[in-house]
C-alpha cells in the first residue's frame, strides 16, 4: 500500500523529496486527489500530500493579489474572494464529480497544476494567465521561488506559466500567488433555440467578433440540453446556443439587446442572474451533461470557427457519442460509451489539418495507460529536457503526463 507523507513546511517537504531521491522512490503529489482519474495512472511508491499547506497567506483586494497555500480548497477560497466582490476570472472548474468524487474537493494547487479554466477562458484567459508567482520544491529537493507578488512583472523567466498545466511533474507547489479580479455586477445569457451545429457556430463567431464583449458562448445539442437543471434549457425541446454578457447593470441590458439584434434569425430568450449563474456552472463543471462515470470523456481544444464542423465529422465516426461545444466553438467535449475503440486515433487524426489537441479526461485505467495523455509530436524531446531541468531523477509524478517520463 502507498505510504503517505504529509509535510507541514516547505523545508519538511524538501526533506521528503530528498528522502525519495535517496530511496529512488517516486512521489505521487496530491492535494485532495479529486482529479486523480486524469492522466496516466501512476505507480508512485509514496504519496506526498499537500493537505497541510492550507490557508490564505495574504490577500490584498485593492492590489488584486492573493497568496495561498497550495493545498487550500477552492471552496474555502471562493467565499473569501466573494466577500470582497472578487473572483478568479478564469472560472476554475470543479471536475471531481466527473470521476465520481464529491463536488467542492479541488485545491488551488490542483487547479493551477491542471491549468483548469472555465467558459470565460477565451475572454479572460486561462488559469496560467492569472498565476503570478509561487514557492515550490523541485525534484532536486530544493526550495525555490519564481514570479512575484505583483500583477505586472517580467523579472526572470515566467516559470508560473510553465508550472501551470504541468500536473505536478516539474515541482511541488507550496505557496501560490494569483491575480484576483472584480466579480461582474450583473450577468445575463441570451439563448437561441433550435439552431443546427454549424449555424450555431456561425452565430457564436459573429457574437465573439462583435463589440458586445461576450464572456461565454456554448452550444448544447438537444439531447444534452434536456439534461440541464435550468428549466428554460431543459424544457426547450431544442438545441440551445447560449451567449453570456457580464458587466455593470446598464451595460448588460444594452449589450443583450444589441446582441439579440444581430442574431435575430433564431427564437431568443434570456436567462437572468441566478439562472444564468447556474447554467454556466453546469457548462463549467460538465458533469450535468456527461455524468456517467463509465463513459469515456474527451476534451478537444480547436480553432473556434471550426468546432461544429469537427463535431459533426466525429459524431459520424464515433458511434453513440454525445458532444457539446464551449469557448465559442473552440472547446469540444465528447462522451463515448465504453466500447473497445475509444476513438483516440480518429479524434487525434481529425486534428492534424486544422490544429488543436485532444485530452482523454476520463476512461478505464488500462486505456489510460495506453492512450498518451499529450501528443507533443516534434516538441517531445524539448519537453523531456524541460522535465529534466526541474526533476532530473524523475521522481515527481513520473508517468502522469508521458509514459517515458
Amino acid at each position: 500500500m502507498t505510504n503517505e507523507i504529509s509535510p507541514t513546511s516547505a523545508a519538511d517537504l524538501a526533506d521528503a523529496v530528498c528522502g525519495a531521491l535517496r530511496d529512488k522512490a517516486p512521489l505521487q503529489i496530491v492535494g485532495q486527489g479529486s482529479k486523480a482519474g486524469w492522466g496516466r495512472p501512476d505507480q508512485a511508491m509514496r504519496r506526498l500530500s499537500l493537505a497541510r499547506f492550507t490557508g490564505i497567506r495574504s490577500y490584498e483586494a485593492a492590489e488584486l493579489v492573493m497568496t495561498v497555500g497550495a493545498g487550500t480548497l477552492m471552496s474555502d477560497i471562493e467565499p473569501i474572494l466573494a466577500a470582497k466582490n472578487q473572483q478568479l476570472a478564469f472560472e476554475p472548474a470543479d471536475w471531481g464529480p466527473l470521476w465520481g468524487k464529491p463536488a467542492g474537493q479541488g485545491t488551488i494547487g490542483g487547479v493551477l497544476s491542471c491549468n483548469l479554466s472555465g467558459p470565460r477562458r477565451f475572454h479572460s484567459g486561462a488559469a496560467r494567465d492569472h498565476f503570478l508567482g509561487f514557492t515550490a520544491v523541485n525534484g532536486r529537493g530544493e526550495v525555490y521561488k519564481a514570479g512575484g507578488p505583483v500583477v505586472k512583472n517580467v523579472t526572470g523567466y515566467d516559470l508560473p506559466k510553465l508550472l501551470a498545466g504541468s500536473f505536478g511533474t516539474l515541482s511541488v507547489l507550496t505557496d501560490i500567488t494569483v491575480k484576483v479580479l472584480p466579480r461582474p455586477e450583473k450577468q445575463r445569457t441570451v439563448l437561441l433555440f433550435g439552431q443546427g451545429p454549424e449555424t450555431a457556430n456561425d452565430a457564436m463567431t459573429m457574437a465573439l467578433g462583435s463589440t458586445h464583449d461576450v464572456s461565454g458562448a456554448c452550444y448544447l445539442p438537444m439531447d444534452l440540453a434536456r439534461r440541464s437543471r435550468v428549466d428554460l434549457i431543459r424544457n426547450a425541446n431544442a438545441a440551445v446556443t447560449a451567449l453570456r454578457i457580464e458587466g455593470s447593470g446598464p451595460s448588460v441590458e444594452h449589450r443583450c439587446a444589441a446582441l439579440r439584434q444581430i442574431v435575430c434569425d433564431a427564437a431568443t430568450e434570456e436567462l437572468h442572474s441566478m439562472r444564468s449563474l447556474a447554467f454556466w456552472r453546469e457548462i463549467r463543471d460538465v458533469a450535468t451533461f456527461m455524468a456517467d462515470p463509465e463513459t469515456v470523456l474527451w476534451r478537444l481544444s480547436v480553432p473556434p470557427a471550426s468546432g461544429a464542423r469537427l463535431a459533426g465529422k466525429l459524431a459520424n465516426a464515433l458511434a453513440g457519442c454525445s458532444w457539446f461545444l464551449d469557448w465559442g466553438g473552440g472547446l469540444l467535449w465528447i462522451a463515448l460509451p465504453p466500447v473497445e475503440d475509444i476513438g483516440a486515433e480518429k479524434i487525434r487524426q481529425s486534428l492534424v489539418d486544422g490544429g488543436g489537441h485532444a485530452t482523454l479526461l476520463r476512461g478505464p485505467d488500462d486505456l489510460r495507460r495506453t492512450v498518451p495523455v499529450i501528443e507533443p509530436g516534434a516538441l517531445s524531446a524539448l519537453l523531456r529536457r524541460v522535465k529534466q531541468a526541474f526533476d532530473p531523477a524523475g521522481i515527481l509524478n513520473p508517468g502522469r503526463l508521458s509514459a517515458d517520463w
Binding site: 491549468n115 494567465d129 525555490y144 519564481a146 507578488p149 515566467d158 472584480p182 524541460v386 526541474f390
Partner: protein, 495 residues
C-alpha cells in the same frame, strides 16, 4: 557594466566566419564592414554601445535555422534583435557575437477574422497589426509606447505591456502560436489558432525570455474588437496618497479601467510646458482614467469614477466630451518622455513594480535619493498595476553624472523590491538590471532558471550576458550526485 570576456580565438576567425555565413545565406544579408556595423551598436538603452562582430539579416526561417545551426557547431554567440527598441539592453550586441536582425521578417501572413487571430512575421511593428485589421474594427491589444517601431517578435521576447494591459493583458496573454528556431537550428511550432498548450506551456516560457531560449520566426496573435467608445477623466490631487487611494477605491468598486495613469508634479509640469494639454499645474499628483466599451457603459462607469475622485478630494476634474478631447488629455502623458528630454540633456527611464499602497513611501524615499544624488526625477506610473517609471534627469557630458544616474536608478529598483515589488514590470532585465537579480532571487532560484535555459540552449550561446549575473556551465548546473550519495541535504532521515 561587465560583459563576458570576448573570445580572442573567435575574433581571430572573423574573416572565415564571414565567408562561411555568405555561403549559408544570401550574401547581401551578411554585414561585416566596421562602419556599417556601427548602426547596430546599441538598442534603446543608449548608454551602452558595442558593435557586433558580424550582423546577419536572414530572409526566412530556413536562413535563421542555417545560421543558428552553424553558430551552434562553431560555438559562436548570437544576439537576436527585432527593431532594437529594448530599454534594458536586451538586444545589445556582443563583441565576439553575431547580431541576428529580423527586420526582413516584415510580412503579415494571414488575417483570420473568424478565429480572431493574425499570423505575422516577427519583424512586423506592433502598431502595423492593428492598422491592418482596423478596417474590420479589430485591433491587437498590447500597446507599448514604442508601438510604432517595436516589433512583435521583440514584444514576445520581452513580454511587452503598455497603458492598456491592466484590462487587456500583456503580450503573453494575447498570443496563440509561435514558430521558433532553437540554437541547434531545430524549427518548432507551438500552439496555433486554438487555446492552451498540449503539454508544458512552452509559449508561456518563451514569452518574456529576452531572447535567451529561441529565435521567434512567426507569431499568431489574438485580435479583439475595438470598443465602441472610450472616454478619459483627468483628475488632480493634492497628494500622491489621495490619488493612490482614488485608484484603490476605483478597483474596490469593481471597475477595471482600460487605463489608469498617474504623474507626479515634476512630470506634469514638464509635459504641460511642452504639450499645453491644460493639465492642472497646482496638482501634486495627476490621474488619467480611461474607460472603454459601449457608450452607456462608459458614461455609467465614468460617473462612478468621478464620484470616487470627488470623495478622495480631487482638486480638479475634467472628463473628455469628445474623441478630440480624450486624445488631448492623453497627449501629455504620451509625451512624458520627450517632455523630460526637453528639460534635461539626458534622462534614464526606470521600470519597477510596487504594491500600489506603497507609492507614497516610495516617492518620499525617491525624493531623499534625488537630493542625495543631486539629480532631478519625474515619475509616470501605470497606477492600476503598480508599474512605476521614474525618469532620472542627468547630463552625460558632466563627468560622473551617468554613473550617478545609474546608481540612483539601481537604488530605486532595490527600493521597489524592498517594499514587496519587483525589478521590472515591462522593460525586461537585459544587461541593465542583470546584476540586481540577486536582490530578488536567491542562488537556488536563479540556478533553477538557468537550468531551464540549458534545456533550450546547452552551450549557452543565445544572448549570453543578459538576465543572469553569473554564467554557469550547464554541466555544472545539472550535476546532482545522487549516485555518490551526495544529495543536496545528505543528512536527512528516511521516510
Amino acid at each position: 557594466m561587465l560583459m563576458p570576456e570576448p573570445d580572442a580565438a573567435v575574433l581571430a576567425r572573423r574573416p572565415q566566419l564571414v565567408d562561411a555565413l555568405k555561403r549559408l545565406i544570401d550574401p547581401a544579408g551578411v554585414i561585416a564592414d566596421p562602419i556599417a556595423l556601427r548602426a547596430y551598436e546599441n538598442d534603446g538603452l543608449t548608454a551602452y554601445r558595442q558593435p557586433p562582430m558580424i550582423a546577419v539579416l536572414p530572409r526566412d526561417t530556413a536562413e535563421v535555422a542555417a545560421i543558428l545551426r552553424f553558430c551552434h557547431q562553431e560555438r559562436i554567440k548570437v544576439v537576436p534583435r527585432g527593431s532594437g527598441t529594448s530599454l534594458s539592453g536586451g538586444a545589445l550586441p556582443l563583441a565576439d557575437g553575431i547580431l541576428l536582425g529580423l527586420g526582413k521578417f516584415n510580412r503579415i501572413l494571414e488575417i483570420d477574422y473568424d478565429n480572431r487571430c493574425a499570423v505575422v512575421q516577427p519583424g512586423v511593428p506592433n502598431l502595423a497589426i492593428s492598422h491592418a485589421v482596423a478596417e474590420r474594427g479589430f485591433y491587437y491589444a498590447p500597446d507599448p509606447s514604442s508601438q510604432i517601431a517595436c516589433s512583435i517578435g521583440g514584444n514576445v521576447a520581452e513580454n511587452s505591456g503598455g497603458v492598456h494591459c491592466l484590462k487587456y493583458g500583456l503580450t503573453t496573454n494575447n498570443l496563440l502560436g509561435l514558430e521558433i528556431v532553437l540554437m541547434t537550428g531545430e524549427v518548432l511550432r507551438i500552439g496555433g489558432k486554438h487555446l492552451d498548450a498540449n503539454g508544458y506551456d512552452l509559449m508561456g516560457i518563451l514569452t518574456g525570455s529576452e531572447g535567451l531560449l529561441g529565435v521567434v520566426t512567426e507569431v499568431t496573435v489574438r485580435l479583439l474588437r475595438k470598443p465602441e467608445t472610450a472616454r478619459a477623466l483627468l483628475a488632480g490631487f493634492s497628494s500622491s496618497e489621495a490619488a493612490g487611494q482614488c485608484v484603490a477605491d476605483v478597483i474596490a468598486a469593481g471597475i477595471i479601467p482600460a487605463g489608469m495613469e498617474m504623474m507626479d508634479r515634476p512630470a506634469t509640469h514638464a509635459v504641460e510646458d511642452f504639450v499645453h494639454a491644460g493639465y492642472p499645474m497646482e496638482a501634486e499628483a495627476l490621474l488619467i482614467v480611461e474607460l472603454d466599451g459601449p457608450e452607456v457603459e462608459v458614461d455609467h462607469l465614468l460617473s462612478q469614477v468621478c464620484a470616487i475622485a470627488e470623495t478622495n478630494g480631487a482638486t480638479s476634474q475634467r472628463a473628455s466630451a469628445s474623441e478630440q478631447e480624450r486624445l488631448l488629455l492623453w497627449a501629455g502623458r504620451k509625451a512624458a518622455f520627450p517632455a523630460i528630454g526637453r528639460i534635461s540633456p539626458d534622462y534614464y527611464c526606470m521600470d519597477g513594480t510596487i504594491p500600489r499602497s506603497k507609492l507614497p513611501q516610495v516617492l518620499a524615499r525617491m525624493d531623499e535619493l534625488s537630493r542625495r544624488y543631486g539629480l532631478r526625477v519625474a515619475n509616470v506610473f501605470h497606477a492600476g498595476d503598480g508599474n512605476l517609471h521614474p525618469l532620472i534627469m542627468y547630463d552625460a557630458n558632466k563627468p560622473g553624472e551617468l554613473e550617478a544616474a545609474e546608481s540612483f536608478g539601481a537604488d530605486i529598483l532595490c527600493l521597489c523590491v524592498e517594499v514587496g515589488g519587483v525589478l521590472t514590470g515591462e522593460h525586461g532585465v537585459g544587461v541593465e538590471k542583470r546584476d540586481l537579480m540577486p536582490r530578488m532571487f536567491s542562488d537556488v532560484d536563479l540556478d533553477q532558471q538557468m537550468r531551464l535555459k540549458c534545456a533550450f540552449d546547452d552551450k549557452q550561446l543565445l544572448n549570453p550576458g543578459k538576465v543572469f549575473p553569473v554564467l554557469r556551465r550547464c554541466a555544472e548546473l545539472g550535476a546532482m550526485h545522487i549516485h555518490r550519495g551526495q544529495l543536496p541535504r545528505p543528512d536527512l532521515p528516511h521516510f
